[in-house]
């Protein structure tokens, strides 16, 4: 069985400050790891993914996440956030055959001016 834990339900941060959104998972099988973002009044969108290779993955809008197998973590970071990054972020895992996705409970990032 798989489970995903996002310890922080809300993260307030000032614009241009760095941020880290934490994600830990447990799984009895090998999984792929994902971060999804949900902007206000919009659907879920894939932000970035780890499938294999380099453990550090990046998105087009400056976010990055690092897969740490020993700590079973996949934390999301951004060195300098913008107001437009205000959204809810979901960490998810999926077994290699992709027939199920398991989501965390989400972290609401609130970027203040």
């Amino acid at each position: 069985a798989q489970s995903v834990t996002q310890l922080d339900s809300q993260v307030p941060v000032f614009e241009e400050a760095p941020v880290e959104l934490r994600c830990n998972y447990s799984s009895s099988v090998s999984v792929y790891l994902f971060w999804y973002v949900q902007y206000p009044n919009q659907g879920l969108q894939l932000l970035l993914k780890y499938l294999s290779g380099s453990t550090l993955v990046e998105s087009i809008n400056g976010f990055e996440a690092e897969f740490n197998k020993s700590q079973t973590s996949f934390h999301l970071r951004k060195p300098s956030v913008h107001i437009s990054d205000t959204a809810e972020y979901f960490c998810a895992v999926s077994p290699y055959n992709f027939n199920k996705f398991y989501f965390g409970s989400g972290t609401k990032l609130n970027v203040k001016p």
Binding site: F90, N99, K100, F103, G106
Partner: protein, 113 residues
């Protein structure tokens, strides 16, 4: 191209009633997954369908059922509604069951009174 579409957007039902939710995948996508997102929680996997066959099922009671049509659209049915079924129901489509790139629809907000 149109994204994933879901109908209706909102609906209100009474306990004990039955409901049918509809999803049209992105053109060319043959796999559809359904998720339930209760307020304050992450999406929970309900079903995955591919080529009209069920490929995966989450931990939901038999009151929940689904089907996929030859045009790859899908319906989710919930019988004997309970108050706890109140949630946002999300549909996601992908090219195939092994394609990690899922595209989510805006969801159907179901309220059970």
């Amino acid at each position: 191209d149109a994204g994933v579409t879901q109908s209706p957007t909102h609906l209100i039902k009474t306990r004990g009633q039955q409901v049918t939710l509809r999803c049209s995948p992105i053109s060319g996508h043959k796999s559809v997954s359904w998720y339930q997102q209760v307020l304050g929680q992450g999406p929970q996997f309900i079903f995955q369908y591919y080529e009209k066959e069920e490929r995966g099922r989450g931990n939901f009671p038999d009151r929940f059922s689904a089907r996929q049509f030859p045009n790859y659209s899908s319906e989710l049915n919930v019988n004997a509604l309970l108050l706890g079924d109140s949630a946002l129901y999300l549909c996601a489509s992908s090219l195939s069951p092994t394609d990690y790139e899922q595209y989510f629809g805006p969801g159907t907000r179901l309220t059970v009174t």
